[in-house]
């Protein structure tokens, strides 16, 4: 590409990238910078009405770290994320492997179902799950009663933290599995058929075939999926916040996102909320560092 001189070439490149950079700067990086600044300031309702914020040093961070509710939310986030991510990956992988073992028309049907589940908007799914788990008229309680489980009739799933997170977790898993199925299935069908055939002839079946032949060939896709699931499940907000709205137990069901929302938007305590958000951001970057490394290796190819 030598039709343009080098400086002009560079100028055109920068010009093309400028609008995208500008909008990200304005909409994301500027507020992010402001937020980090705010986390070191006393920033409450008085500042909202125009009073200049005072420098507060690490006070906001201390307030967050001394707050038992923060640690409880952190633990809930981590446990919820670990369970949901693990179950999603296991179920999704099992589903994808199942697809390779069934007649074509069944595999197509399963994929069609996965597509529909994947397409469901978060809020639609949230409403359906609330209806499924409705205390009085929900199908789940009806089914549990029908198979003879005592106390299922009229049980309010959103009234205790454990059952609350069970509903939230099932929803998150239901929503996330389709993508895992698609990605793992795409990877597995790339594995050389003759290699699998040879291993079969050597007597490798089931679990052994999976661990020795299939798993090593799809390990990079698998790692990517695990990381994405962890990232997505750690930042879960919508599902928890909406379910909290219908449950009435808020304090005992906070995860990091809803905790920040609670002190910032509901409590008007922007400085402390900014500190908590910054802590969460650092945590996320810690987790995602590996993912970025992985993508960068791909980018350099």
């Amino acid at each position: 590409m030598t039709s343009l001189s080098m400086p002009a070439e560079r100028r055109l490149g920068l010009l093309l990238v400028l609008p995208a950079v500008a909008i990200v700067l304005v909409a994301l990086l500027y507020p992010l910078g402001r937020q980090v600044l705010m986390s070191f300031q006393t920033f409450g309702l008085a500042q909202q009405f125009g009073q200049a914020p005072a420098f507060a040093g690490l006070e906001n961070y201390a307030a967050v770290l001394e707050d038992g509710a923060f640690w409880a939310a952190l633990v809930r986030s981590l446990v919820f994320c670990a369970l949901c991510a693990a179950l999603t990956v296991v179920i999704g992988t099992a589903g994808a492997l199942l697809l390779t073992a069934v007649p074509r028309w069944i595999a197509m049907g399963v994929q069609a179902v996965m597509l529909v589940a994947w397409a469901m908007p978060v809020l639609s799914s949230l409403q359906v799950f609330q209806w499924l788990f409705d205390a009085r008229r929900g199908v789940v309680n009806w089914l549990l009663t029908a198979v003879g489980i005592d106390g299922a009739a009229g049980f309010n799933w959103l009234s205790t933290p454990v059952s609350f997170f069970a509903v939230a977790g099932l929803l998150v898993i239901w929503m996330s599995v389709p993508l895992v199925v698609f990605m793992v299935y795409a990877a597995v069908t790339q594995v050389d058929e003759s290699v699998i055939e040879a291993a079969r002839l050597d007597g490798a079946h089931g679990v052994r075939l999976f661990t020795t032949i299939i798993m090593p060939s799809i390990s990079s896709v698998f790692l990517l999926i695990c990381l994405l699931e962890i990232i997505w499940d750690l930042r879960v907000f919508t599902q928890i916040h909406v379910l909290q709205g219908s449950s009435g137990i808020t304090e005992s069901t906070h995860v990091l996102g809803t905790y920040i929302y609670q002190i910032g938007l509901s409590g008007g305590n922007y400085g402390v909320a900014a500190a908590a958000a910054t802590i969460m951001l650092l945590l996320m970057l810690l987790v995602t560092g590996r993912y970025i490394q992985l993508l960068l290796r791909g980018a350099k190819d």
Binding site: L16, P103, G264
Partner: protein, 290 residues
């Protein structure tokens, strides 16, 4: 070893064992599909049931006496149409904006060598990882200061900012896939540099454009967190907020209405997915794995 390798695979015993395994796998796959389909089916089913059936002691599994009453009441509500207008307007801006900005930036990163190129790539990857849940307090403050709360412009701005990095990354994968030689040939034929991009490259990354449009559409259509904090007045709610306003504690919940609303919200997305599923998977593998 030799004997085993020579044994034909289709001895009767082997065949029947393989057959049994296949049947077992098929049964498991069908069960898996049914479980995953059920919530979507239940949404559609419940939206068509009468109030009487919805409150019956035993669930009604099939809408034999299907009624469109719930849909009629939703389609007749001004709140629904207001939310639909907000969602559609924001989605349109986000899709068009993401594609335009994303295409230009993807060209720059893929085709030009400038000093900050690598740091830009790293920047995109890191920014993509910033969850909305960690910036919304500050974004809310910013929109408040600029008088952009409860406006299409404010929400679109934030959604664009979060979505553009992903679009750039996705489209970069597709632009990389177009041989530079094609553009060079167009240049020799007298095309300008930008002309070559528009006439040669753009038509060749069609599936990338479709995939990134869909992801941009979904990102804004489904977004809840920022809408919750920035679109608080009743006239400015988007569909996700509107649907939550239905249910609440201590309310005699109108499940038929909620299910009809949820179905109406899901319908465009499901149709879109079915139409372009091939592009979606292609887009994902290009964007995520590359």
């Amino acid at each position: 070893m030799t004997t085993q390798a020579l044994t034909p695979r289709s001895t009767p015993r082997r065949r029947s064992r393989a057959g049994a395994r296949r049947i077992l796998a098929s049964a498991a796959a069908i069960l898996f599909a049914l479980v995953w389909l059920f919530p979507a089916y239940w949404m559609l089913n419940s939206s068509l049931l009468t109030d009487e059936e919805l409150t019956s002691r035993v669930p009604v599994w099939f809408p034999a006496r299907a009624t469109l009453a719930h849909y009629a009441s939703i389609l007749g509500s001004a709140d629904f149409w207001s939310a639909m207008r907000m969602s559609a307007a924001i989605a349109a801006i986000v899709v068009v904006g993401s594609i335009a900005l994303g295409f230009f930036a993807a060209l720059a990163i893929s085709r030009f060598r400038f000093r900050s190129r690598m740091s830009l790539i790293i920047g995109i990857l890191i920014i993509q990882m910033i969850p909305a849940e960690t910036v919304f307090v500050s974004q809310y403050r910013m929109l408040d200061t600029w008088d952009l709360l409860n406006s299409v412009a404010g929400a679109s701005l934030i959604y664009l900012g979060t979505n553009v990095p992903f679009t750039v990354w996705l489209l970069k994968g597709f632009v990389d896939g177009v041989p530079v030689e094609l553009e060079e040939a167009a240049l020799l034929d007298g095309c300008s540099r930008m002309g070559a991009f528009f006439r040669v490259t753009l038509p060749l990354i069609g599936s990338g454009l479709v995939a990134s449009s869909i992801f941009a559409f979904l990102a804004s259509w489904n977004e809840y967190t920022l809408a919750l904090v920035s679109l608080t007045s009743s006239g400015s709610q988007t569909l996700p907020l509107w649907i939550t306003s239905f249910s609440g504690m201590n309310q005699n919940t109108d499940w038929g209405g909620i299910m009809a609303g949820s179905t109406l919200m899901a319908l465009p997305v499901v149709i879109l997915f079915v139409l372009v599923q091939r592009n979606m998977v292609a887009g994902l593998t290009a964007g995520a794995v590359k």
